[in-house]
């Protein structure tokens, strides 16, 4: 069977189109399940919590709220954005610049009791670098405090 060049070109174009649509479809369906939304404590205060989903919680580590558990590797602290507070529990090595009064983004899930179970913490790294999710929010928070 001889394939006509024109038809083959068409078939290739269709295959490329299918690949693009496939990529788009694949990406969008995965995005629906996997995109992690960002919340500040004030965003969830008095509203239904997004339970069972991986989300990010960002704000300041409240001064005086950091406590260490007896096992030496678990901590509890409170994240605040000046409007509301959320208690956070985390087990693991904290990032290098994690401290009270400093900015933090916690990745994890909200619990039914209103607390937050963090799988991972991101902290402000140095003067110049700041995780993008926190930069905008922190700016708001700092302005509020002043």
């Amino acid at each position: 069977m001889m394939v006509k060049p024109k038809h083959q070109r068409l078939a290739l174009a269709l295959a490329a189109l299918a690949a693009i649509l496939g990529a788009g479809g694949l990406a969008l369906s995965a995005l629906k399940d996997q995109a992690a939304f960002f919340y500040a404590p004030g965003d969830v205060a008095g509203k239904p919590l997004p339970l069972g989903k991986n989300v990010r919680l960002g704000g300041m580590v409240e001064k005086g709220s950091l406590t260490h558990e007896a096992d030496g590797v678990s901590i509890r602290f409170t994240v605040t954005d000046g409007k509301a507070k959320v208690p956070v529990a985390f087990r693991g090595v904290t990032p290098d610049l994690f401290r009270e009064g400093s900015g933090v983004v916690a990745e994890g899930q909200f619990q039914a009791d209103g607390s937050f179970a963090a799988d991972n913490l991101l902290a402000k790294h140095d003067e110049r670098y700041m995780p993008p999710q926190i930069a905008g929010k922190m700016h708001k928070t700092e302005t509020l405090e002043k």
């Binding site: 690949a19 110049r128 999710q133 700016h139």
Partner: protein, 638 residues
């Protein structure tokens, strides 16, 4: 005066690029021999001037000239020499200068070495390269001048982010940039060929070594970057799917597709328009990736707002180059005469499949990387992380592995399903064996890494099959390159799957004298002591470790404190064994004599980077083999 000299060199280089554009453009029209020679010479001068400006900046950093703003904000006189040098490109302006330097030098390389391409297309290519260079010179000179003076001079500099003070990272950006900007040559070739309509096997053979060279550097850069993140960040992960990593992965995916499709064009004169398209897309991805990261849009929406001129400038450049190239493509694609057709079951067919799957992965990564930006514009803050990228790309990547097994076994033009089936027997046997072994020995293996290990075993065997029945000494070098690269893919996948499925982790707070166990290892914390480095101080833990009843060995992870700027970093201590790595991190103290110790046993994790380097050197072998062949056939022609 030195800084002004560098600035002057940049301005003259920009002027040379303008001359190169005019000369190259008219040479492409008229085909006049003298104009072409002049264009080549100007391209070399332009490249040398850019290189001179870059070396000037390095000199300023080495001298710690605090009257230069960039040095004062990014360097410090107490820094070790190697990081003073690396500091020259560890910032926005310096890295942009490095970018145009590579662009200019690559253009000069084309002007000096490219002898196979017909004169008109070469002139058009150099003109296109000049257009690219002009835009980036303008960006550098008008919005990111690296030679800006500081008056009065600073007493001392502000230092370099300690995370970046690492020998591996010092040479990571230049390697990546060689890859990114090396793809500009493919882009300019495509534009040149579209202008002169000279698209065929000769064009593909001329473009191929450049694509392979850029791809080699890109692969090395990504692999080295992954290892850097692995040991420097202290999280034990080797790929985080963060925007900066995706920015390097996207051009790599496009370039991988390109170097396969260019082979179809060179061998069978097929996929003409598609190859040109990929050449445009590959460098577009380089530009999008670098500039989204460099402009700060992706890393921080905040930074973008701080300096709107820069962001707007970058977006305008992107729009002009990508839009212009695509418009040219759209206008000319109808006149690109049809190449040869082919059968579904053939080498070409498999390579088309390879290209489609690579493009699907590219699309997924592209959408995932840019989606947060789009969502942000619509007033929603979200992040797209590893769960998305893994879910969307791993299944496609596994399908790609299957295509990679079959492709090299198929004949060009036309092959039979039956013949393919017979050749697939050996890899299939390997896959079945692995399934059985894993199900018996490691019954709890999760499904995705299990499939990864199976695919890796199949590909490892399949990649050797093309060598069977060949006289090894008479096999062309580029075949060895392909075999090595495909074998590297198998090795890397095996490493990723093994680490994902079998790694063991332990986190504990221990006192001096206490023991932590992970896997078959027992680590005793014998000492915690402070130490002083060149520009840091640290707390160092000494762990005395035994594997089962073997001889004890020591690992010494640290917490380092830097004063300029004030930062703490974890320095992981890693022991590499034949079957994996033991990774230890010292965490915070609880103030009561206990220190957090985190340990991972990561079986065969080193395969990831071993595979990466095999892939890269496979590309290098293929490039060397192709160039040798071209030179030999040139000699015969004479």
């Amino acid at each position: 005066m030195i800084a002004e000299g560098g600035l002057a060199a940049l301005w003259i280089a920009a002027a040379m690029a303008l001359v190169q554009l005019v000369l190259g453009g008219s040479a492409a029209r008229s085909g006049a021999e003298e104009l072409m020679r002049a264009t080549r010479k100007i391209a070399v001068v332009q490249g040398l001037l850019a290189l001179g400006a870059f070396l000037t900046l390095i000199l300023l950093f080495v001298q710690s000239d605090m009257s230069v703003l960039l040095v004062a904000t990014n360097s410090h006189s107490a820094k070790p020499l190697i990081y003073k040098i690396a500091g020259a490109w560890g910032n926005h302006e310096g890295s942009m200068l490095l970018w145009v330097t590579v662009l200019g030098v690559a253009g000069a390389g084309v002007a000096i070495f490219e002898k196979r391409l017909d004169g008109k297309t070469l002139a058009a290519t150099l003109a296109a390269q000049a257009v690219l260079a002009l835009g980036f010179y303008a960006f550098l000179l008008l919005a990111s001048n690296p030679f800006l003076r500081l008056d009065p001079p600073a007493p001392d500099g502000q230092g370099l982010n300690p995370l970046l003070q690492d020998p591996g990272l010092a040479f990571h950006p230049p390697t990546l940039y060689l890859g990114y900007v090396g793809l500009s040559v493919a882009f300019s070739f495509a534009v040149g060929a579209l202008l002169t309509r000279q698209i065929g096997p000769a064009f593909a053979r001329a473009m191929r070594p450049w694509v392979l060279g850029a791809w080699f550097f890109l692969t090395i850069g990504i692999t080295a970057g992954s290892y850097w993140a692995y040991y420097e960040l202290g999280w034990g992960g080797w790929w985080f799917w963060d925007p900066v990593e995706n920015a390097s992965l996207m051009p790599w995916l496009a370039a991988t597709a390109l170097l396969h499709s260019v082979t179809v064009l060179a061998t069978r004169d097929g996929l003409r328009a598609w190859t040109l398209m990929l050449a445009v897309v590959a460098f577009s991805m380089s530009m999008i990736g670098t500039f989204l990261v460099r402009s700060g849009i992706l890393v921080s929406v905040h930074a973008f707002a701080v300096d709107p001129t820069r962001g707007t400038f970058i977006l305008a450049l992107l729009a002009i180059y990508i839009g212009g190239a695509l418009a040219l493509f759209g206008a000319r694609v109808g006149t690109v005469t049809q190449g040869s057709t082919f059968q579904l079951v053939s080498r070409e067919g498999a390579l088309v499949l390879n290209n489609l799957l690579l493009c699907v992965i590219l699309g997924v990564v592209f959408i995932g990387t840019l989606y947060p930006l789009v969502a942000q514009a619509m007033g929603q803050q979200l992040s797209v992380g590893a769960p998305f990228f893994n879910a969307a790309s791993v299944p496609v990547a596994l399908a790609l592995v299957v295509a990679t097994m079959a492709g090299p076994m198929l004949k060009w033009r036309k092959d039979q399903w039956g013949a393919l089936g017979r050749k697939m027997m050996l890899p299939a046997a390997a896959m079945v064996t692995i399934v059985v072994v894993l199900l018996v020995a490691m019954p709890g293996t999760p499904i995705v890494p299990l499939l990864g290990l199976v695919a890796a075993a199949g590909l490892a065997v399949a990649s050797i099959v093309p060598l069977l029945g060949r006289k090894l000494r008479r096999t062309p070098i580029h075949i060895y390159g392909m075999v090595l690269a495909h074998l590297g893919v198998a090795v890397a996948i095996a490493g990723m799957a093994s680490d994902t499925a079998f790694k063991q982790e332990r986190l504990a707070a221990v006192r001096v004298g206490e023991t932590v166990a992970v896997g078959s290892f027992k680590a005793k914390l014998t000492e915690i002591r402070p130490i002083i480095g060149e520009n840091w101080s640290a707390l160092e833990a000494t762990l005395s470790i035994r594997r089962n009843d073997g001889d004890p060995f020591r690992l010494q992870p640290q917490q380092r404190y830097f004063s300029q700027p004030v930062t703490t970093t974890s320095e992981a201590a890693i022991s590499t064994m034949i079957d994996g790595q033991l990774y230890t991190v010292l965490g915070a103290s609880d103030g009561q004599g206990r220190y957090q110790i985190r340990m991972w046993w990561k079986p065969f994790v080193t395969f990831i980077w071993l595979g990466g380097f095999m892939i890269a050197f496979g590309g290098l072998l293929a490039m060397v083999g192709r160039i040798r062949r071209e030179m030999r056939s040139e000699d015969e022609a004479e």
